[in-house]
Amino acid sequence: MVSTTETARLLSGNEAMALGAYHAGVKVAAAYPGTPSTEILETLAGFGDTHAEWSTNEKVALEVALGAAYAGVRALASMKQVGLNVALDPFMAAAITGVKGGLVVISCDDPGIHSSQGEQDNRHLARLAKVPMLEPSDSQEAYDLMAVAFDLSERFDTPALLRSSTRISHSKSVVRIGHTRTVSDAPVHFQHDVHKYVMLPVNARLRRPLVEERLVRLAELAETFPFNKIFPGDSSLGIVTSGVAYQYAREVFPDASFLKLGMTFPLPQDLIRQFAAQVKRLIVIEELDPFLQESIRTMGLKVTGKEFIPRIGELNPGIVEAAARKAGLLPPAESPAVAATVANLPKRPPLLCPGCPHTGIFFVLSTIGQRHKILDAQGKSVKESKLVITGDIGCYTLGALPPLDAMDTTACMGASIGQALGMVKAGVASKVMAVIGDSTFLHSGITGLVNGVYNNGRLVLLILDNSTTAMTGHQDHPGTGVSAQGQTTRAVRLEDLVRGIGIADVKVVDAFDLKALRTAVRIALESDELSVIIVRGDCSVRVPRREGPRAIDAEKCNECGVCFMLGCPAILSNEGEAYIDSAVCVGKGCTVCQQLCPQQAIAEAAP
């Protein structure tokens, strides 16, 4: 656990932001998990004296934080980059109403798509909402900028956006801790103010000019903002940069002049002009879009950057160096680096774990409509499937990969249900089934399902209930009945919820019972009404004790290879002969391979 008192610590960006918020007196923090942002709320939840919650989704999290800020306390909402898409509505609303207590929104971008459904540069959203944006370049700044962000938010009556990225959030560096926790002693009180808080058109129109005025004052402040700083060096090259790109740029150009921006919206135009006048050639080194570069170019300055720095993917010192050589900013490499013959090594793709409760159901789905027979080597279908499976986001998305190949779409959280209805209404000839995880269903599947009921959608929904948010590291959610701070709360029962919106055909099936799964799916597919199957089984990573690993009897095994169709990492092969790695097999709690084996060659291993 992160100590709140030690003076110098090696902290990740996420831990540093949490500690910075805690010391800045945050009283309410809300989030929905999402890589690389998850640990911010997890760390805060451990501190106490602050309400830290997992909310059902990012929109709700930001609304909770906004309400707290209206009541005068400091509040925080943290999320991954696509989380801010979900929360964009309250974010835009907060930008116009303003706040009372400080409100900081943390968005953690994911350049390189380490763990997301896409790549996007959320710096554009600060410009869209016309709110100040701060960008730390290491954990020290992540810590320091947190207090600054709360302060700006209160002084300028605006939410502040703190933009992190995977490499900032998930790198540890030394943090010198400047203060301890101070909480404002102003009474918690909501001051009724219709003109400020009730955004009827007449009131919103009154607030619009205030937003523009606020932006002008923020731009003035940016000129002397201590985290916007010139580091003079060789005047032949001047580099404007921010965030982790600053670190790469310093490494590759140790002698150049730097303008490092800690506040990247609004920009300090005078400071930028002053810097540009000091250097012969001005470039921008930034990750993802030419956000700074385009703004500087609009100011009429001559500047390059994205002509040679890639706009796709995560940067690193090697990429920046290679780009600089190509652009003639550095001499060509003396000799090509010794590249070992590593390109042809077998890859190690992510897998469903041994004993995963998602394996059995995806195996069943892969055998329906002869799905695996319709795919060519590239995974494209050559024949029309009898069953279309719209999918969603979570560990279970791995069901889309071979050998299971049992998912046809994955777009964004909750999309599976709307997509399935859309396909049905479009009139596809195949049966349509949507597959969604429990946390994702609660995040944004419910509204889609209500829509399905309302619009009379004849589809089948599978909710894969492993009683956790596994993908992001096992966070609790409304269905588990445990809060982010470990208190027992009221669990939302998925079957009650689904029945409550008028769905009569609801079944709960054991995730490790292949026969029951197959029967339930078959009946649902034949049904003419909207049906829901809740596939329930605990996440195997959370099963505390593993007992009775399975083993394959080589005498009985005829090497048919069916067990390999599960894609279970515990089932290995030695020159075609299948065997089970007893160290990783979950055993009694699973037995899916045993149920499947046509030769009945799988049983509990002899002790």
């Binding site: 380490h114 998930h170 790198s171 490494e251 190690r348 992510p350 774990c353 560990c395 390999f564």
Partner: protein, 199 residues
């Protein structure tokens, strides 16, 4: 002074903890340090790479290809995969365990032999240590001590951190009942590389 370490392996091998401890030990020895992990998508079974950088002043948390001084591979395939990151005078410490990915276990791809592993790594460097870490950790009584054993191997090549500092940092991260066995694993690792070094 600068020392760049790349710790690689498979999810669940305790790599993140080992690299956290290296960073903290370097900090305790008075150096600047940064570390970062790339964990991929799966909770278990995916590749894990951890960059640890130590120096008077460290900028980038990511190490540049060709700059790694110490590559510690907790699994053979994951060690060779990062071979091109080694600096010319670098060292590779490789745990001889192999965890075949699914394409190999289904017989579709070839897993490199020990000879191939050493050959590939030796294209760029001279010193490659193949360590029987997993077997030794198992013999100690807990396979999970592999990370501390590997840490002991690494420590041999980090002369500016004293043994006491290493042990303090290890103990800070583990419950009291796990101290003894993990310190034993660390000592075993130290002996392993020291032996090879003096040979």
């Amino acid at each position: 002074m600068k020392l760049d370490l790349l710790i690689t392996g498979v999810g669940g091998q305790g790599i993140v903890l080992a690299s956290d401890i290296i960073g903290e030990a370097a900090m305790a020895a008075g150096y600047d340090t940064k570390k970062t992990d790339t964990l991929g998508m799966a909770q278990r079974g995916g590749s894990v790479v951890s960059h640890v950088r130590i120096g008077d002043k460290v900028w980038s948390p990511l190490i540049k290809e060709g700059d790694v001084d110490i590559l510690a591979g907790f699994e053979k395939l994951e060690a060779v995969r990062w071979g091109s990151y080694l600096a010319p005078g670098g060292i590779a410490i490789v745990n001889s365990q192999s965890i075949p990915p699914p394409s190999v276990s289904r017989g579709l791809e070839h897993y490199p032999t020990d000879e191939e592993v050493v050959d590939i790594l030796k294209q760029g460097i001279e010193r490659v240590f193949l360590i029987n870490g997993t077997a030794q950790a198992k013999a100690l009584g807990d396979i999970r001590t592999l990370n501390m054993l590997m840490l002991g191997c690494i420590a041999t090549f980090v002369p500016f951190v004293g043994v006491d500092t290493w042990k303090e940092c290890i103990c800070r991260h583990l419950p009291a009942k796990a101290h003894e066995i993990n310190i034993k694993a660390f000592d075993l690792g130290q002996r392993e590389t020291q032996n090879v070094c003096s040979r």
